[in-house]
């Protein structure tokens, strides 16, 4: 038993962190939100060079996974993507890679491109009662639609193009309804459920990183902002709220890595709800403790603040996840 990241995994996190810090992600996010995907795609290929997408792709398709995807390393990577608010359908692309690995002709066409960072894939869940949106379909090279289990096929590759933009609470998450028609594909039974689990798992990692970034920025702020002649971080009401934020995140982390080791649906659901709630609580705290300046769009903090709630709800809302935990 060694329930700790090893040196190599920690080095991987550190190098991604350094690369993303140097890439000035806030300006990439702002461009993405404005519909300019150039800087985002550039960042995407840097992530591919660092090996992020290859982790999801088997060796047979030019990835690095011996048999399949590497969940622990992917969790490490997605925590960093969350920490730096990387925009785009990162979760959907990796989940799609896992799904398409079970559909050989499509796998051959798509997986090498995904591994190389040349294909962005979005994914919409038509099994949802509410309208299925495809994240960033305007930037994606392909959109997969997960079909309800009752249909003869498991998924459909939507035709190129997209309808109108449905603005999200987070402008860097650009939502579109997938177009009708396109190629229908049959994959192994359970593959769609697994893809949904993968999306939930990666979103949990992204949420954890988002929460960590919100906490770190808030801690830095309360150390330097003074009121009543003292740093506001010396006031107990402020301290205790941040202590609770840290506690929430630190107890979500082991659930994430526990889920990475088992990839069991109940474990993933537990990680998803806990990381999502912890990150959302971190956002509420960050907003409150920054005072009015935290309520502005100008401050980069807003890029993370607006992400926390959608990440909490994407690919498994809290109540759905809790039901899944008890069903397991």
């Amino acid at each position: 038993m060694r329930f700790l990241l090893d040196d190599e995994q920690r080095d991987f996190a550190r190098s991604l962190d350094a690369m993303l810090t140097a890439a000035d992600t806030p300006s990439v996010v702002r461009a993405w939100a404005a519909g300019d995907h150039g800087p985002g795609r550039e960042l995407w290929s840097k992530l591919a060079d660092a090996g992020v997408f290859a982790l999801a792709v088997p060796e047979a398709y030019e990835g690095v996974g011996p048999g399949g995807p590497l969940p622990v390393e992917l969790a490490v990577a997605f925590v960093e993507l969350g920490r730096h608010a990387v925009p785009g359908p990162v979760v959907e692309t990796v989940a799609a890679a896992v799904l398409l690995a079970g559909a050989p002709p499509l796998a051959k066409e798509w997986l090498p491109r995904i591994a190389a960072g040349e294909a962005l894939v979005s994914m919409a869940d038509a099994t949802q009662a509410r309208a299925p949106y495809a994240l960033d379909a305007d930037a994606a090279d392909g959109v997969l639609v997960l079909l309800p289990t009752a249909s003869p096929c498991a998924l459909r590759l939507a035709p190129p193009g997209h309808g109108p933009l449905h603005p999200s609470a987070d402008p860097a998450r650009r939502l579109f309804r997938p177009l009708d028609g396109g190629e229908e594909v049959t994959v192994a039974a359970g593959a769609v459920g697994a893809a949904r689990d993968w999306a939930a798992f990666l979103t949990a990692a992204q949420a954890l990183g988002t929460g960590e970034a919100l906490l770190a920025q808030t801690v830095a702020y309360v150390k330097q902002r003074t009121q009543f002649g003292a740093a506001i971080g010396s006031f107990q009401a402020v301290k205790h709220r941040l202590a609770d934020t840290l506690t929430g995140l630190e107890f979500a982390r082991p659930l994430l890595y526990g889920a990475a080791l088992s990839m069991a649906p109940g474990d993933i659901a537990a990680a998803k709800v806990t990381a999502g709630e912890a990150a959302y609580a971190a956002a509420r705290t960050a907003l409150q403790l920054h005072g009015a300046v935290g309520y502005t769009e100008e401050l980069d903090l807003s890029l993370w603040l607006r992400k926390a709630r959608p990440l909490r709800d994407a690919w498994g809302r809290p109540s759905e996840c809790r039901a899944r935990v008890l069903a397991a």
Binding site: F3, G233, Q236, R322, L326
Partner: protein
């Protein structure tokens, strides 16, 4: 990164499980916070000890099995899964023993540990005083030098199980007027039946005499019962506090078993349409799982040579808040029966309510988290 157990650990688990299945009393023992229950629990501790299951992590020479931290966690999981009784010796085993391993002499260890392991001598913690709770270093009870030892005077309070316990350990002021209140304190052990000790039981919220006040009037303690250097008691005490908040006081096994029982209760009793209650049951299951994995992470760090630090405060805040939420959920599931004082859940609920108060209140723990883990400036205390 893995969660795998070795073949040897699996053998250990099977052995513990078999022993517990054969020996755990069929009917629950009476509450250990009563005289009758205290005696019954002492008998159970002796039973455990006779087959070396009372202190599995201690060295063999003191009655243990020399089990490492992972085996200890396995034992705890099996112990609570088997529905085995709460431990009447827990304060001695979890608080005094680690202090003895770190700071005592060989003679002290040889004298104190075996009878603690067997449950023959039950220990109480005598730290708090009426005027010294969160601000423990402001304590006023004194130990004054005398021929061959010290004379203790003053008052201690909230001492768990001191109503029925045999001996106590605590900190006393041995020097007045030091530059800082943390200086000039001495850590020592004394007999609760010694001349000059008056024990006054205090009823907790449910009336059971779960703790006591101690009045000390020139109680003699020999030099042999001072732990560490005289005057250095604060340092000695703080190593114990880390243990208390850290993982030894609340092993994950306890919460895993409780969350399992809660899930059973939910399946048996709940209205399937009550999704709000369902979500809370799920949170209890998730919390137990989170605590278990968090503990495995810490255990992995310790096994690799790290020592317990301010992270123990994260632990303490988490399990104490968790324990209350778990029990409140059980009470809501029980409906009208929740009011009955005699159920296992009702007893657990009363006990859980104290969690955010003892072992350093959660307010103090949050200060520690904020200052030591997040690096926020020290405020006025």
């Amino acid at each position: 990164m893995d969660l795998d157990h070795t073949a040897e650990e699996d053998v250990f688990r099977a052995e513990a499980r078999a022993w517990l299945a054969a020996h755990v009393p069929a009917a629950p023992l009476p509450s250990l916070e009563t005289e009758e229950g205290f005696a019954a629990h002492k008998e159970w501790e002796a039973r455990l000890h006779s087959d070396r299951w009372s202190v599995v992590s201690w060295p063999k020479e003191y009655g243990g099995r020399g089990a490492d931290i992972f085996k200890w966690l396995i034992f705890e999981e099996e112990y609570y899964a088997a529905g085995a009784p709460g431990r009447v010796s827990q304060n001695g085993i979890n608080l005094l023993a680690p202090t003895l391993f770190d700071h005592a002499t060989d003679e002290q260890r040889a004298r104190v540990l075996p009878s603690m392991a067997s449950g023959e001598v039950v220990w109480a913690q005598a730290w708090s005083e009426p005027e010294a709770g969160s601000d423990l270093a402001s304590l006023r009870s004194t130990a004054v030098r005398t021929e061959g030892g010290w004379l203790l005077s003053g008052q201690k309070t909230w001492s768990s199980r001191a109503s029925f316990a045999d001996r106590a350990f605590g900190i006393f002021r041995t020097e007045q007027g030091t530059a800082k209140p943390h200086q000039g304190l001495t850590y020592l052990m004394f007999d609760l039946s010694a001349h000059g000790v008056t024990v006054r039981p205090i009823g907790r919220l449910d009336g059971k005499p779960a703790f006591a006040e101690l009045f000390l009037d020139r109680v003699f303690v020999p030099d042999a019962d001072v732990i560490g250097e005289p005057g250095a008691g604060w340092k000695v005490a703080m190593s114990t506090a880390g243990n208390e908040r850290g993982l030894t006081l609340r092993s994950p096994g306890r919460f895993l078993a409780a969350a399992g029982r809660l899930t059973d209760l939910w399946r048996a009793r709940a209205d399937p349409g009550d999704t709000a209650l369902r979500d809370r049951v799920a949170d209890a299951v998730i919390g137990a799982r989170a605590y278990r994995l968090f503990t495995y992470g810490n255990a992995s760090r310790f096994a690799a040579g790290a020592s317990i630090g301010a992270e123990s405060s994260l632990n303490k805040v988490f399990w104490s808040d968790y324990d209350i939420a778990l029990h409140e959920t059980a009470l809501d599931l029980l409906g009208a029966d929740a009011e009955l004082a005699q159920s296992e859940w009702a007893e657990g609920y009363v006990f859980s309510l104290a969690g955010p108060i003892y072992a350093g209140t959660n307010e103090i723990q949050r200060d520690i988290i904020a200052e030591r883990l997040l690096g926020l400036p020290k405020g006025r205390r």
